[in-house]
Protein backbone atom coordinates (compact mmCIF):
# COMPACT_ATOMS: atom_id res chain seq x y z
CA UNK A 1 0.00 0.00 0.00
CA UNK A 2 2.42 2.66 -1.21
CA UNK A 3 -0.25 5.11 -2.29
CA UNK A 4 -2.05 5.46 0.99
CA UNK A 5 -3.11 8.95 2.04
CA UNK A 6 -0.84 10.95 4.31
CA UNK A 7 -3.33 10.86 7.20
CA UNK A 8 -3.31 7.08 7.19
CA UNK A 9 0.46 6.95 6.98
CA UNK A 10 0.89 9.15 10.01
CA UNK A 11 -1.62 7.13 11.99
CA UNK A 12 0.10 3.92 11.12
CA UNK A 13 3.62 5.11 11.79
CA UNK A 14 2.92 6.84 15.04
CA UNK A 15 0.22 4.50 16.26
CA UNK A 16 -1.84 7.38 17.54
CA UNK A 17 -4.95 6.53 19.45
CA UNK A 18 -8.41 7.89 19.06
CA UNK A 19 -10.13 9.61 16.25
CA UNK A 20 -8.28 11.88 13.93
CA UNK A 21 -10.35 14.22 11.92
CA UNK A 22 -10.00 17.37 10.00
CA UNK A 23 -11.11 20.27 12.11
CA UNK A 24 -10.74 22.92 9.45
CA UNK A 25 -8.63 23.47 6.39
CA UNK A 26 -5.69 24.43 8.58
CA UNK A 27 -5.68 22.09 11.58
CA UNK A 28 -6.24 18.47 12.48
CA UNK A 29 -7.40 17.41 15.89
CA UNK A 30 -6.76 14.16 17.64
CA UNK A 31 -9.37 12.98 20.10
CA UNK A 32 -9.63 10.11 22.53
CA UNK A 33 -12.65 7.84 22.69
CA UNK A 34 -14.45 10.32 24.97
CA UNK A 35 -13.81 13.06 22.45
CA UNK A 36 -11.32 14.89 24.65
CA UNK A 37 -8.69 16.67 22.62
CA UNK A 38 -5.34 14.93 22.82
CA UNK A 39 -3.51 16.89 20.22
CA UNK A 40 -4.01 19.55 17.57
CA UNK A 41 -1.69 19.72 14.64
CA UNK A 42 -1.36 22.08 11.74
CA UNK A 43 -2.30 20.71 8.35
CA UNK A 44 0.75 22.06 6.65
CA UNK A 45 1.60 19.15 4.42
CA UNK A 46 0.44 19.49 0.82
CA UNK A 47 -1.15 16.05 0.97
CA UNK A 48 -3.59 17.10 3.65
CA UNK A 49 -4.99 19.79 1.47
CA UNK A 50 -5.07 17.72 -1.66
CA UNK A 51 -6.75 14.79 -0.03
CA UNK A 52 -9.08 17.06 1.89
CA UNK A 53 -10.09 14.19 4.15
CA UNK A 54 -13.12 14.99 6.18
CA UNK A 55 -13.82 11.46 7.33
CA UNK A 56 -13.06 10.48 10.88
CA UNK A 57 -10.51 7.76 11.25
CA UNK A 58 -10.19 5.30 14.09
CA UNK A 59 -6.81 3.84 14.80
CA UNK A 60 -6.34 2.18 18.15
CA UNK A 61 -3.56 -0.35 18.74
CA UNK A 62 -6.06 -2.90 20.01
CA UNK A 63 -7.95 -2.72 16.75
CA UNK A 64 -7.55 -5.63 14.41
CA UNK A 65 -5.57 -5.23 11.24
CA UNK A 66 -8.72 -6.04 9.24
CA UNK A 67 -10.57 -3.18 10.82
CA UNK A 68 -7.65 -0.90 10.17
CA UNK A 69 -7.55 -1.89 6.53
CA UNK A 70 -11.26 -1.49 6.10
CA UNK A 71 -11.11 2.08 7.43
CA UNK A 72 -8.18 2.78 5.21
CA UNK A 73 -10.08 1.48 2.20
CA UNK A 74 -13.10 3.62 3.01
CA UNK A 75 -10.95 6.73 3.23
CA UNK A 76 -9.24 5.99 -0.06
CA UNK A 77 -12.55 5.35 -1.77
CA UNK A 78 -13.93 8.59 -0.43
CA UNK A 79 -10.94 10.50 -1.73
CA UNK A 80 -11.30 8.99 -5.18
CA UNK A 81 -15.01 9.79 -5.12
CA UNK A 82 -14.37 13.40 -4.07
CA UNK A 83 -11.78 13.90 -6.78
CA UNK A 84 -14.17 12.45 -9.34
CA UNK A 85 -16.95 14.80 -8.24
CA UNK A 86 -14.60 17.76 -8.30
CA UNK A 87 -13.63 16.97 -11.87
CA UNK A 88 -17.26 16.59 -12.96
CA UNK A 89 -18.06 19.97 -11.40
CA UNK A 90 -15.16 21.69 -13.15
CA UNK A 91 -16.05 20.13 -16.51
CA UNK A 92 -19.66 21.08 -16.02
CA UNK A 93 -18.70 24.71 -15.42
CA UNK A 94 -16.42 24.75 -18.42
CA UNK A 95 -18.87 23.16 -20.86
CA UNK A 96 -21.88 25.20 -19.76
CA UNK A 97 -19.88 28.43 -19.92
CA UNK A 98 -18.88 27.70 -23.51
CA UNK A 99 -22.46 26.87 -24.38
CA UNK A 100 -23.67 30.07 -22.76
CA UNK A 101 -21.27 32.24 -24.70
CA UNK A 102 -22.45 31.43 -28.22
CA UNK A 103 -26.02 32.61 -27.59
CA UNK A 104 -24.59 35.70 -25.86
CA UNK A 105 -22.61 36.55 -29.01
CA UNK A 106 -25.77 36.27 -31.10
CA UNK A 107 -27.85 38.38 -28.71
CA UNK A 108 -25.21 41.09 -28.40
CA UNK A 109 -24.55 41.08 -32.13
CA UNK A 110 -28.15 41.80 -33.07
CA UNK A 111 -28.53 44.45 -30.36
CA UNK A 112 -25.41 46.23 -31.60
CA UNK A 113 -26.68 46.11 -35.19
CA UNK A 114 -30.03 47.58 -34.13
CA UNK A 115 -28.30 50.30 -32.10
CA UNK A 116 -26.20 51.25 -35.10
CA UNK A 117 -29.37 51.58 -37.12
CA UNK A 118 -28.31 48.73 -39.40
CA UNK A 119 -31.75 47.13 -39.21
CA UNK A 120 -33.77 50.31 -39.72
CA UNK A 121 -34.26 53.57 -37.89
CA UNK A 122 -35.02 53.25 -34.19
CA UNK A 123 -36.86 55.66 -31.92
CA UNK A 124 -35.32 57.21 -28.82
CA UNK A 125 -37.39 54.94 -26.64
CA UNK A 126 -36.23 51.89 -28.55
CA UNK A 127 -32.65 53.06 -28.28
CA UNK A 128 -32.99 53.45 -24.54
CA UNK A 129 -34.42 49.94 -24.22
CA UNK A 130 -31.68 48.44 -26.40
CA UNK A 131 -28.99 50.22 -24.39
CA UNK A 132 -30.34 48.61 -21.22
CA UNK A 133 -30.54 45.18 -22.86
CA UNK A 134 -26.96 45.52 -24.07
CA UNK A 135 -25.70 46.63 -20.67
CA UNK A 136 -27.35 43.65 -19.00
CA UNK A 137 -26.06 41.30 -21.67
CA UNK A 138 -22.56 42.58 -21.02
CA UNK A 139 -23.01 41.89 -17.32
CA UNK A 140 -24.05 38.32 -18.06
CA UNK A 141 -21.12 37.96 -20.40
CA UNK A 142 -18.69 39.07 -17.70
CA UNK A 143 -20.24 36.64 -15.25
CA UNK A 144 -19.88 33.76 -17.71
CA UNK A 145 -16.29 34.79 -18.36
CA UNK A 146 -15.55 34.86 -14.62
CA UNK A 147 -17.08 31.42 -14.08
CA UNK A 148 -15.00 30.05 -16.92
CA UNK A 149 -11.88 31.62 -15.42
CA UNK A 150 -12.66 30.20 -12.00
CA UNK A 151 -13.02 26.72 -13.45
CA UNK A 152 -9.68 27.21 -15.23
CA UNK A 153 -8.13 28.46 -12.00
CA UNK A 154 -9.39 25.46 -10.10
CA UNK A 155 -8.28 22.93 -12.69
CA UNK A 156 -4.96 24.70 -13.36
CA UNK A 157 -5.70 24.95 -17.08
CA UNK A 158 -5.56 28.70 -17.55
CA UNK A 159 -3.34 29.56 -20.49
CA UNK A 160 -0.78 32.34 -20.13
CA UNK A 161 0.97 34.10 -22.97
CA UNK A 162 3.75 36.30 -21.55
CA UNK A 163 5.06 39.06 -23.81
CA UNK A 164 7.11 42.23 -23.41
CA UNK A 165 4.68 44.96 -22.41
CA UNK A 166 4.98 48.71 -22.21
CA UNK A 167 3.15 49.51 -18.98
CA UNK A 168 2.19 53.04 -20.02
CA UNK A 169 0.59 51.91 -23.30
CA UNK A 170 -1.24 49.10 -21.58
CA UNK A 171 -2.67 51.41 -18.92
CA UNK A 172 -3.62 54.15 -21.36
CA UNK A 173 -5.54 51.68 -23.52
CA UNK A 174 -7.32 50.22 -20.50
CA UNK A 175 -8.14 53.59 -18.96
CA UNK A 176 -9.51 54.89 -22.26
CA UNK A 177 -12.04 52.04 -22.35
CA UNK A 178 -12.93 52.42 -18.67
CA UNK A 179 -13.27 56.22 -18.87
CA UNK A 180 -16.36 55.83 -21.08
CA UNK A 181 -17.99 53.85 -18.27
CA UNK A 182 -16.79 56.32 -15.62
CA UNK A 183 -18.22 59.21 -17.66
CA UNK A 184 -21.73 58.03 -16.79
CA UNK A 185 -21.04 58.90 -13.15
CA UNK A 186 -18.98 61.94 -14.06
CA UNK A 187 -15.88 60.27 -12.62
CA UNK A 188 -12.41 61.14 -13.88
CA UNK A 189 -9.70 58.43 -14.09
CA UNK A 190 -6.16 59.83 -13.83
CA UNK A 191 -2.90 58.08 -14.58
CA UNK A 192 0.16 58.91 -12.50
CA UNK A 193 3.05 56.85 -13.87
CA UNK A 194 6.68 57.23 -12.88
CA UNK A 195 8.84 57.86 -15.94
CA UNK A 196 11.38 55.10 -15.29
CA UNK A 197 8.81 52.29 -15.10
CA UNK A 198 10.40 49.37 -16.97
CA UNK A 199 8.71 47.14 -19.55
CA UNK A 200 7.36 43.94 -18.05
CA UNK A 201 7.15 40.41 -19.41
CA UNK A 202 3.55 39.59 -18.57
CA UNK A 203 0.39 38.18 -20.06
CA UNK A 204 -0.93 41.56 -21.11
CA UNK A 205 -4.54 40.48 -21.64
CA UNK A 206 -4.70 38.87 -18.21
CA UNK A 207 -3.17 41.87 -16.43
CA UNK A 208 -5.55 44.16 -18.31
CA UNK A 209 -8.35 41.96 -17.03
CA UNK A 210 -7.17 42.61 -13.46
CA UNK A 211 -6.98 46.38 -14.02
CA UNK A 212 -10.40 46.46 -15.68
CA UNK A 213 -11.79 44.54 -12.73
CA UNK A 214 -10.25 46.87 -10.15
CA UNK A 215 -11.34 49.99 -12.06
CA UNK A 216 -14.85 48.59 -12.47
CA UNK A 217 -15.09 48.11 -8.72
CA UNK A 218 -13.66 51.57 -8.08
CA UNK A 219 -16.24 53.14 -10.41
CA UNK A 220 -19.05 51.08 -8.93
CA UNK A 221 -18.32 52.16 -5.35
CA UNK A 222 -17.24 55.77 -6.05
CA UNK A 223 -19.51 58.74 -5.61
CA UNK A 224 -20.61 60.77 -8.60
CA UNK A 225 -18.12 63.38 -9.72
CA UNK A 226 -15.16 61.92 -7.80
CA UNK A 227 -11.69 61.00 -8.98
CA UNK A 228 -9.97 57.64 -9.40
CA UNK A 229 -6.19 57.62 -9.74
CA UNK A 230 -3.92 54.86 -11.03
CA UNK A 231 -0.41 55.23 -9.59
CA UNK A 232 2.47 53.19 -10.99
CA UNK A 233 6.07 53.15 -9.80
CA UNK A 234 9.04 50.87 -9.50
CA UNK A 235 9.86 49.79 -5.99
CA UNK A 236 12.80 47.43 -5.57
CA UNK A 237 12.43 44.38 -7.78
CA UNK A 238 8.74 45.07 -8.40
CA UNK A 239 6.47 47.49 -10.18
CA UNK A 240 3.72 48.65 -7.84
CA UNK A 241 0.26 49.45 -9.22
CA UNK A 242 -2.21 51.38 -7.06
CA UNK A 243 -5.83 52.09 -7.86
CA UNK A 244 -7.15 54.72 -5.50
CA UNK A 245 -10.78 55.70 -5.13
CA UNK A 246 -12.73 57.89 -2.74
CA UNK A 247 -15.74 55.61 -2.52
CA UNK A 248 -17.45 54.05 0.45
CA UNK A 249 -14.44 51.97 1.50
CA UNK A 250 -14.22 48.53 3.05
CA UNK A 251 -14.38 47.80 6.80
CA UNK A 252 -11.04 46.61 8.17
CA UNK A 253 -12.25 43.15 9.20
CA UNK A 254 -13.46 42.46 5.69
CA UNK A 255 -10.41 43.57 3.74
CA UNK A 256 -8.73 40.16 3.48
CA UNK A 257 -11.99 38.35 2.83
CA UNK A 258 -12.88 40.27 -0.30
CA UNK A 259 -10.39 38.17 -2.27
CA UNK A 260 -12.32 35.02 -1.36
CA UNK A 261 -14.64 33.41 -3.86
CA UNK A 262 -18.24 34.64 -3.73
CA UNK A 263 -17.50 37.12 -0.93
CA UNK A 264 -19.47 40.35 -0.88
CA UNK A 265 -18.85 43.02 1.71
CA UNK A 266 -22.47 43.93 2.11
CA UNK A 267 -24.86 41.47 0.53
CA UNK A 268 -27.88 43.77 0.48
CA UNK A 269 -26.08 46.70 -1.04
CA UNK A 270 -23.82 44.71 -3.35
CA UNK A 271 -26.84 43.12 -5.00
CA UNK A 272 -27.72 46.56 -6.20
CA UNK A 273 -24.20 47.03 -7.56
CA UNK A 274 -24.20 43.67 -9.37
CA UNK A 275 -21.46 41.08 -9.27
CA UNK A 276 -21.24 37.86 -7.33
CA UNK A 277 -17.75 38.11 -5.90
CA UNK A 278 -15.71 36.30 -8.52
CA UNK A 279 -13.65 39.12 -10.03
CA UNK A 280 -11.23 39.69 -7.16
CA UNK A 281 -10.61 35.96 -6.70
CA UNK A 282 -9.75 35.68 -10.39
CA UNK A 283 -7.56 38.80 -10.21
CA UNK A 284 -5.71 37.42 -7.23
CA UNK A 285 -5.01 34.12 -9.01
CA UNK A 286 -3.62 35.96 -12.05
CA UNK A 287 -1.36 38.24 -9.98
CA UNK A 288 -0.01 35.41 -7.79
CA UNK A 289 0.75 33.34 -10.89
CA UNK A 290 2.83 36.26 -12.19
CA UNK A 291 4.85 36.17 -8.97
CA UNK A 292 3.25 39.32 -7.59
CA UNK A 293 0.92 40.10 -4.73
CA UNK A 294 -2.40 41.90 -4.35
CA UNK A 295 -4.00 43.56 -1.35
CA UNK A 296 -6.19 46.45 -0.32
CA UNK A 297 -5.92 49.32 2.11
CA UNK A 298 -9.10 51.09 2.93
CA UNK A 299 -10.79 53.28 5.45
CA UNK A 300 -14.51 52.82 5.83
CA UNK A 301 -16.32 55.78 4.34
CA UNK A 302 -13.17 57.37 2.92
CA UNK A 303 -12.23 55.16 0.01
CA UNK A 304 -10.01 52.25 -0.94
CA UNK A 305 -6.61 51.74 -2.53
CA UNK A 306 -6.08 48.41 -4.24
CA UNK A 307 -2.44 47.58 -4.73
CA UNK A 308 -0.71 44.88 -6.69
CA UNK A 309 2.89 44.16 -7.62
CA UNK A 310 4.50 42.51 -10.63
CA UNK A 311 8.15 41.41 -10.62
CA UNK A 312 10.56 43.23 -12.95
CA UNK A 313 12.30 39.91 -13.62
CA UNK A 314 9.52 37.63 -14.86
CA UNK A 315 8.85 34.26 -13.25
CA UNK A 316 9.83 31.26 -15.30
CA UNK A 317 7.06 28.93 -16.40
CA UNK A 318 4.01 31.06 -15.66
CA UNK A 319 1.58 28.22 -16.28
CA UNK A 320 3.41 25.86 -13.96
CA UNK A 321 3.52 28.53 -11.30
CA UNK A 322 -0.13 29.18 -11.83
CA UNK A 323 -1.05 25.59 -11.10
CA UNK A 324 0.48 26.01 -7.65
CA UNK A 325 -1.78 28.92 -6.80
CA UNK A 326 -4.47 27.79 -4.42
CA UNK A 327 -7.35 30.22 -4.80
CA UNK A 328 -8.95 29.00 -1.60
CA UNK A 329 -5.92 29.66 0.55
CA UNK A 330 -5.49 33.26 1.49
CA UNK A 331 -2.56 33.14 3.96
CA UNK A 332 -0.06 34.08 1.28
CA UNK A 333 -1.84 37.37 0.63
CA UNK A 334 -0.35 40.16 2.62
Amino acid sequence: MRDEPEVVKILREEERTGILYQKSSTTYKQLDSNENTLDTMPATSKDYKENNVTASFLSRPEQSMEQHKSYQKTTEEQIIQLKKLDKIKTNFLSVTSHELRTPMSVIKGYIQMMLKGNLGTISNEQKKALDIILRNSNQLDTLIQDILDISRLESGTMKFIPERTNVKNMLEQTIEIMQSIADKKNIRINLNLEENTPDLIIDQERIKQVIVNLLNNAIKFSYEGSIITVFVRKTGDYVLFEIQDFGRGIPRDKQAKIFELFYQVDLERDRKFGGVGLGLAVSRGIILAHGGNIWVESEHGKGSTFRFTLPVTPVQNLEGKFREVDIFKLNDTQ
Binding site: T102, S105, V106, K108, N118, K159
Partner: protein, 123 residues
Protein backbone atom coordinates in the same frame (compact mmCIF):
# COMPACT_ATOMS: atom_id res chain seq x y z
CA UNK B 1 -17.93 44.32 -54.53
CA UNK B 2 -15.61 42.55 -52.10
CA UNK B 3 -16.59 39.02 -51.17
CA UNK B 4 -16.44 37.43 -47.74
CA UNK B 5 -17.18 33.85 -46.70
CA UNK B 6 -18.43 33.05 -43.20
CA UNK B 7 -17.59 29.56 -41.93
CA UNK B 8 -19.43 28.83 -38.69
CA UNK B 9 -21.35 25.79 -37.45
CA UNK B 10 -23.78 27.64 -35.15
CA UNK B 11 -26.68 28.64 -37.44
CA UNK B 12 -27.79 31.76 -35.59
CA UNK B 13 -24.26 33.08 -35.19
CA UNK B 14 -23.55 32.36 -38.86
CA UNK B 15 -26.64 34.25 -40.03
CA UNK B 16 -25.92 37.13 -37.67
CA UNK B 17 -22.34 37.47 -38.93
CA UNK B 18 -23.47 37.25 -42.53
CA UNK B 19 -26.07 39.99 -42.06
CA UNK B 20 -23.63 42.20 -40.18
CA UNK B 21 -20.97 41.87 -42.88
CA UNK B 22 -23.52 42.50 -45.67
CA UNK B 23 -24.55 45.68 -43.86
CA UNK B 24 -20.92 46.79 -44.05
CA UNK B 25 -21.20 46.62 -47.83
CA UNK B 26 -19.73 43.22 -48.68
CA UNK B 27 -21.11 40.25 -50.59
CA UNK B 28 -21.30 37.15 -48.38
CA UNK B 29 -21.65 33.41 -48.62
CA UNK B 30 -21.93 31.06 -45.63
CA UNK B 31 -20.61 27.58 -45.00
CA UNK B 32 -21.45 25.37 -42.04
CA UNK B 33 -18.22 23.40 -41.72
CA UNK B 34 -14.80 22.81 -43.27
CA UNK B 35 -15.99 20.49 -46.05
CA UNK B 36 -18.80 22.83 -47.02
CA UNK B 37 -16.30 25.71 -47.12
CA UNK B 38 -13.76 23.83 -49.28
CA UNK B 39 -16.51 22.76 -51.70
CA UNK B 40 -17.75 26.30 -52.21
CA UNK B 41 -14.58 28.38 -52.13
CA UNK B 42 -13.41 28.19 -55.75
CA UNK B 43 -16.85 29.04 -57.12
CA UNK B 44 -17.33 32.03 -54.85
CA UNK B 45 -13.67 33.19 -54.76
CA UNK B 46 -13.84 35.23 -51.53
CA UNK B 47 -11.29 37.96 -50.71
CA UNK B 48 -11.59 37.16 -47.02
CA UNK B 49 -12.90 34.33 -44.82
CA UNK B 50 -13.99 34.36 -41.19
CA UNK B 51 -13.26 30.87 -39.92
CA UNK B 52 -14.57 29.44 -36.64
CA UNK B 53 -11.94 27.24 -35.00
CA UNK B 54 -14.22 24.85 -33.12
CA UNK B 55 -16.44 23.07 -35.59
CA UNK B 56 -17.43 19.43 -35.98
CA UNK B 57 -15.64 17.61 -38.79
CA UNK B 58 -12.33 18.89 -40.14
CA UNK B 59 -9.96 20.61 -37.71
CA UNK B 60 -8.66 24.12 -38.41
CA UNK B 61 -5.26 22.72 -39.36
CA UNK B 62 -6.84 20.24 -41.81
CA UNK B 63 -8.91 23.02 -43.37
CA UNK B 64 -5.87 25.28 -43.76
CA UNK B 65 -3.85 22.37 -45.23
CA UNK B 66 -6.51 21.51 -47.80
CA UNK B 67 -6.90 25.18 -48.66
CA UNK B 68 -3.40 25.08 -50.18
CA UNK B 69 -4.75 22.90 -53.01
CA UNK B 70 -7.42 25.46 -53.92
CA UNK B 71 -7.06 28.19 -56.54
CA UNK B 72 -8.51 30.90 -54.32
CA UNK B 73 -6.14 32.36 -51.71
CA UNK B 74 -8.29 34.42 -49.35
CA UNK B 75 -7.19 36.24 -46.24
CA UNK B 76 -8.37 34.41 -43.16
CA UNK B 77 -9.55 35.78 -39.83
CA UNK B 78 -9.98 33.10 -37.17
CA UNK B 79 -12.84 33.30 -34.68
CA UNK B 80 -11.52 31.55 -31.62
CA UNK B 81 -12.11 31.00 -27.94
CA UNK B 82 -8.44 30.24 -27.27
CA UNK B 83 -5.49 32.61 -27.44
CA UNK B 84 -2.30 31.93 -29.35
CA UNK B 85 1.35 32.27 -28.40
CA UNK B 86 3.73 34.10 -30.75
CA UNK B 87 5.05 30.79 -32.03
CA UNK B 88 1.56 29.52 -32.83
CA UNK B 89 0.70 32.85 -34.46
CA UNK B 90 3.73 32.63 -36.78
CA UNK B 91 2.66 29.14 -37.87
CA UNK B 92 -0.86 30.35 -38.57
CA UNK B 93 0.36 33.41 -40.49
CA UNK B 94 2.29 31.12 -42.82
CA UNK B 95 -0.94 29.28 -43.57
CA UNK B 96 -2.90 32.31 -44.79
CA UNK B 97 -4.26 33.54 -41.47
CA UNK B 98 -3.97 37.33 -41.18
CA UNK B 99 -5.58 37.84 -37.77
CA UNK B 100 -7.80 36.33 -35.12
CA UNK B 101 -10.54 37.59 -32.84
CA UNK B 102 -11.32 36.02 -29.52
CA UNK B 103 -14.93 35.12 -28.78
CA UNK B 104 -17.01 36.77 -27.48
CA UNK B 105 -15.95 39.59 -29.77
CA UNK B 106 -17.43 43.02 -30.23
CA UNK B 107 -19.04 43.59 -33.62
CA UNK B 108 -17.02 46.73 -34.31
CA UNK B 109 -13.84 44.89 -33.51
CA UNK B 110 -14.49 42.32 -36.23
CA UNK B 111 -15.79 44.76 -38.84
CA UNK B 112 -12.88 47.16 -38.24
CA UNK B 113 -10.45 44.34 -38.89
CA UNK B 114 -12.28 43.25 -42.03
CA UNK B 115 -12.15 46.81 -43.38
CA UNK B 116 -8.48 47.06 -42.45
CA UNK B 117 -7.43 43.93 -44.34
CA UNK B 118 -9.56 44.59 -47.39
CA UNK B 119 -8.62 48.23 -47.82
CA UNK B 120 -4.90 47.36 -47.72
CA UNK B 121 -5.53 45.37 -50.89
CA UNK B 122 -6.39 48.45 -52.89
CA UNK B 123 -2.92 49.95 -52.52
Amino acid sequence: MRKIMIVEDETDLREMLSLMIRKEGFKTLTAEDGDDFLNKIDDFQPDLVTLDVMMPGLTTREILDKLKEKKTKPKIILLTVVRYSDEEKQKLYKMGVVDYVTKPFELDDLTNRIHKYLSKDKN
